[in-house]
C-alpha cells in the first residue's frame, strides 16, 4: 500500500536528498562507478585502491554507511526515511555502500542491543568506518543444526577466560580482525551454559585454515582455539546469556540471507531476456522452446511473489513496530528460489552455462557457475531449511513437540 507522505516532512526530505547528491558529487570517485563493496564481501582479501579508501573514509566520516545507528557511536543518527534516500541516491549515482560485512549486518545491531557502554564505544565506531572485519564463531564440527551442542570451552581464570575448542564454517575467518563467538562457560546446562564473547583473531593460540568448497573458492574456514586468553571485559551480556544474544544475532543474519535488506538488487535480469540470447526465438520474438518458456514464466511468477512477500513483510513490520510473522518464511523461500534460478540459468545456457574457467566463457557465465555451486550453502547455513521449517511449525503455527 502506498505510504502516506506528510507534506510537512516533504521539504525536509528534499533538502536531505540535495545534501546526499552534493556529498556524492564531492566525494564519490567516478572510477568506482558500478563497483560493489570488496571489503564487505567474504570471498576475497582486501587490497583497497586509493580511490576505494577515499570513498570508504568519506562515507565512514558521516556515518552514512550505517545511517540509522546512533551518532554517538559513529552512526548517521538518521531516520529510516533518510536512510532510504541515501540508498536511492547512491544507487542512482552507481555508488556502493563501502561500509558492510558481518559487523554491519549482524554484530553491530546485536552489540548495540546487548553490549555495555564501554563495549559499544570501543567496537561500534570502527565498524561504522569500515576499519575492522568481524567473523562469526558459531558452528562446530558437532554443532551445526544442533547449534547449542557447541563444546568450545571458556574456562574462568579470574581476570580472563582461557578458550579451547574448534569452530568451523567461519566465513572470512582468514581475513577477519575479530571474532564474535558463542562458547561454553558451563558444562552442566546445554543452553544456559553458553556465553557470547569477543576474540581477537591475532591472539596467540588462534589458528585459521581455509576450507575449499565445491565452487572452488574458500570463503569459509576452520578456526582452532588453543589456550587463547580472552579478557573478561570481552564478555557481552552476562555469563549464560549467550544463547539468547546469539539467537538474536541470527535473526539479523536470516534477514540478510533472504534479501530483506535490499530488494531492488535482488531482482536481477529477467531470465526470459537472458534466454533470448542463448535460445532460438520465433518470428514473434517468443522463445521457440515452449517447455522452457513455460518453466521460465513459472519461476519468474513465483520469484515476483517472493519479492512482493519480502516487501509486505517490511511494510507490516514498519506498521506494527515489530517483526512480521512471515519474516520466518523469507529465508526458506528466498534461498530455495535463488537456487532454482541458478539451475534454470544452466538449462538456458546449456554447457555454455557450466564453464569452470577459460576464455571461451564470459565473466558473467563463469560467475554464475560459481554462484550456482556456492548457492547450495544458502539452504544449509544460517539455520537450514529444515530448521526454518521447525521454527515456523513450532513458533508460528503452534505445532507441539513429539512426546
Amino acid at each position: 500500500m502506498a505510504t502516506q507522505i506528510e507534506p510537512a516532512t516533504q521539504t525536509d526530505e528534499d533538502a536531505f536528498r540535495a545534501e546526499v547528491q552534493q556529498f556524492l558529487a564531492d566525494n564519490f570517485p567516478a572510477e568506482l562507478k558500478g563497483q560493489s563493496n570488496a571489503l564487505a564481501g567474504v570471498d576475497g582479501p582486501t587490497n583497497e585502491t586509493p580511490a576505494q579508501t577515499k570513498w570508504r573514509e568519506a562515507v565512514g566520516a558521516r556515518g552514512w554507511g550505517t545511517p540509522t545507528w546512533p551518532k554517538e557511536y559513529g552512526g548517521g543518527g538518521l531516520t529510516k526515511a533518510q536512510a532510504k534516500i541515501i540508498d536511492q541516491e547512491f544507487a542512482k549515482a552507481g555508488a556502493y555502500n563501502p561500509i558492510g560485512g558481518m559487523g554491519v549486518m549482524m554484530f553491530g545491531p546485536t552489540l548495540l542491543e546487548y553490549g555495555n557502554e564501554a563495549q559499544k564505544k570501543e567496537h561500534i565506531p570502527p565498524i561504522t568506518r569500515g576499519e575492522i572485519r568481524w567473523c562469526q564463531g558459531y558452528s562446530e564440527p558437532n554443532a551445526g543444526s544442533d547449534l547449542a551442542n557447541l563444546q568450545t570451552f571458556a574456562e574462568d581464570k579470574g581476570d580472563h577466560y582461557l578458550v579451547n575448542g574448534q569452530k568451523t564454517w567461519t566465513s572470512g575467518g582468514q581475513w577477519a580482525d575479530k571474532c564474535f563467538a558463542i562458547v561454553r562457560t558451563d558444562k552442566s546446562d546445554k543452553h544456559k551454559g553458553i556465553s557470547f564473547m569477543l576474540i581477537d583473531m591475532d591472539k596467540p593460540g588462534v589458528e585459521v585454515r581455509p576450507i575449499t568448497m565445491i565452487s572452488g573458492t574458500s570463503p569459509f574456514c576452520e578456526t582452532f582455539f588453543t589456550d587463547v586468553k580472552v579478557p573478561k571485559e570481552n564478555l557481552v551480556g552476562e555469563e549464560g546469556q549467550g544463547w539468547t544474544i546469539g539467537k538474536r544475532l541470527l535473526q539479523h543474519e536470516r534477514t540478510n540471507i533472504s534479501g530483506g535488506g535490499s530488494l531492488a538488487r535482488l531482482m536481477g535480469q529477467s531470465l526470459g531476456d537472458i534466454a533470448k540470447k542463448y535460445q532460438p526465438t520465433g518470428a514473434d520474438g517468443e522463445l521457440a522452446d515452449a517447455v522452457l518458456r513455460d518453466k521460465i514464466a513459472d519461476f519468474e511468477i513465483r520469484w515476483n511473489s517472493f519479492l512482493l512477500t519480502a516487501r509486505r513483510a517490511m511494510e507490516e513490520s514498519k506498521a506494527a513496530g515489530g517483526v512480521s510473522e512471515i519474516s520466518s518464511v523469507l529465508k526458506k523461500l528466498g534461498t530455495k528460489l535463488s537456487q532454482e534460478r541458478s539451475e534454470l540459468l544452466i538449462e538456458i545456457r546449456g554447457l555454455q552455462g557450466l564453464g569452470w574457467e577459460g576464455d571461451g566463457f564470459s565473466d558473467g557465465e563463469l560467475e554464475a557457475v560459481r554462484a550456482w555451486l556456492f548457492g547450495k550453502a544458502t539452504t544449509i547455513y544460517g539455520g537450514s531449511t529444515e530448521i526454518q521449517n521447525n521454527i515456523i511449525a513450532k513458533r508460528v503455527l503452534g505445532m507441539l513437540d513429539h512426546q
Binding site: M1, A2, S270, G272, D273, A275, K276, T281, G285, E286, L287, R293, D294, I296, A297, D298, E300, I301, R302, N304, S305, F306, L308, T309, R311, R312, E315, E316, A319, I326, V329, K332, L333, E386, Q388, N389, N390, I392, A393, K394, V396, L397, G398, M399, L400, D401, H402, Q403
Partner: protein, 356 residues
C-alpha cells in the same frame, strides 16, 4: 496482510463478523440442498448489498462507496472463507466494465441499481470450456447481438450481461433473445451456457481498445481474492484438525513430517497473499495491472491447487466425506482455477507481457 486504512479495517471486520455469524458453510449447504439453479440466497445478497458490498468499486455519484478493489477484495476474501454463494464477485466485475467503458447514461441507468442490489450483472466472455478471450465469435449487427457464451458464472441470477463480442463489450438485458442452458459444475454454483439470438445490445463505447483485458484483469484479481480466502480457511481448518487428531498416542501436529508440510503450505500461502493483494492494489493504482493481475491469479491457482489437495490428504479419510467441508473447497477451487485463466494460459500471458 496488507497495511490497511481505518475504513478498510472496518469493512473487513464487518465482513468477517457477518460471514462467520450469518453465512457459515452450513448456509452454502442449504443453498446446495435447495437445488435452485441460481444457487444463492436472495435475502442474504440483499443484506450484503445493504451493507454496501455490492457498490465498493462504484463511484459515490452512482450510489457506491468508491473504496476500490483492495477493499472489495477484503470482503470477497471473507466470503471465500465460508464459501458464501453469491453473485457479488461477478456483479462487481460487470459493474467495473460499466465504470470503465459506459456512457454517462449507461452509468446512471445501471450502476445505482447494481450498487443497491436491485439488479445483478455478470460477465460473459468465453465461448468454450477453457479461458480464451482471443477466440470470440459473438458478433453484433444493427444493435442485435448473437453468439453463445459457455459456462457463464452467476448467469441464472443476472438481470444484465456484459458480453464480449468481436468488436468490444456490450450490455444485454435478460429477456428476449437470451436463453440459458444450465451447466451444473462440481462447485454446485450457478453456471450456464447463454445463447444470444439477436438480443438487443448496447455497446460500452468509452473504455478504449483494452477494455476487455482491463475487465478480465479485474475478474482475475477478485477471483484470486476469493481463492485466497478459501486457501486460508483450508489451511486454518487443517491446522486445527492436526492439533486435535490423536494417533499413536500423539496429536498429529507433533509429527515432524506433517509439521514441515504445514510450514511449506504456510510459505505458499504467504506468497499467494502477497501476489493477490498486490494485484488488487495495482488495479487501484492503475499501474502495471496486466502483469500484477497475471501474477495474482497464477499464484492463486498454484497455491489453491496444492492447498486443496493437501487439505484432503492431511484430513485423512474424513476429508473424503461430504460431512466435512474440506471437499467443498476442492470442488470450488478447481472451477475458479479454470476460470479467467488456467495456470498454463497465465504463464503464456506472463511470457508475452515480459517480451519472451
Amino acid at each position: 496482510m496488507a497495511v490497511l486504512n481505518e475504513e478498510q479495517e472496518m469493512l473487513r471486520d464487518m465482513a468477517r463478523e457477518w460471514t462467520v455469524n450469518e453465512s457459515p458453510v452450513t448456509e452454502f449447504r442449504k443453498v446446495r440442498a435447495s437445488g435452485e439453479p441460481e444457487a444463492f440466497n436472495r435475502d442474504a445478497y440483499a443484506t450484503m448489498a445493504q451493507m454496501g458490498w455490492a457498490g465498493v468499486i462504484i463511484p459515490e455519484e452512482h450510489g457506491g462507496s468508491d473504496f476500490g478493489f483492495l477493499s472489495a477484495g477484503l470482503v470477497v476474501e471473507e466470503l471465500g472463507k465460508t464459501l458464501t454463494a453469491s453473485p457479488l464477485v461477478m456483479n462487481t466485475v460487470a459493474a467495473s466494465a460499466i465504470v470503465l467503458g459506459g456512457s454517462d447514461e449507461q452509468k446512471a441507468r445501471w450502476l445505482p441499481r447494481l450498487a443497491s442490489g436491485e439488479a445483478i450483472a455478470t460477465l460473459a466472455v468465453d465461448e468454450g470450456p477453457s479461458h480464451d478471450p482471443a477466440k470470440i465469435e459473438t458478433s453484433v449487427s444493427d444493435g442485435k447481438l448473437s453468439g453463445t457464451k459457455a459456462f457463464v458464472h452467476e448467469a441464472h441470477g443476472a438481470d444484465l450481461f456484459v458480453v464480449a463480442a468481436k468488436d468490444g463489450l456490450y450490455l444485454v438485458e435478460k429477456g428476449d433473445g437470451v436463453a440459458l442452458t444450465t451447466r451444473k459444475l462440481t462447485d454446485q454454483r450457478s453456471h450456464a451456457d447463454v445463447t444470444f439470438d439477436g438480443a438487443a445490445a448496447e455497446k460500452l463505447a468509452n473504455g478504449g481498445d483494452n477494455l476487455l483485458d482491463d475487465v478480465l484483469d479485474r475478474a482475475r484479481v477478485l477471483t484470486a481474492a476469493e481463492m485466497l480466502g478459501m486457501a486460508q480457511q483450508v489451511f486454518d481448518d487443517t491446522l486445527d484438525y492436526l492439533k486435535q487428531r490423536v494417533q499413536f498416542n500423539q496429536v498429529l501436529a507433533s509429527f515432524q513430517a506433517l509439521q514441515h508440510r504445514m510450514a511449506d503450505l504456510f510459505a505458499d500461502l504467504a506468497q499467494m497473499r502477497s501476489a493477490v493483494e498486490a494485484g488488487l492494489q495495482a488495479v487501484d493504482a492503475g499501474f502495471g495491472v496486466a502483469r500484477a493481475a497475471t501474477i495474482a491469479k497464477a499464484e492463486a491457482n498454484r497455491v489453491m491447487h496444492t492447498m486443496a489437495n493437501e487439505g484432503i490428504q492431511l484430513h485423512g479419510g474424513i476429508g473424503m466425506t461430504d460431512e466435512y467441508d474440506v471437499g467443498f473447497y476442492l470442488k470450488r477451487a478447481r472451477v475458479l482455477e479454470q476460470s479467467f485463466g488456467s495456470s498454463s494460459w497465465l504463464k503464456d500471458r506472463f511470457s508475452k507481457l515480459s517480451g519472451y
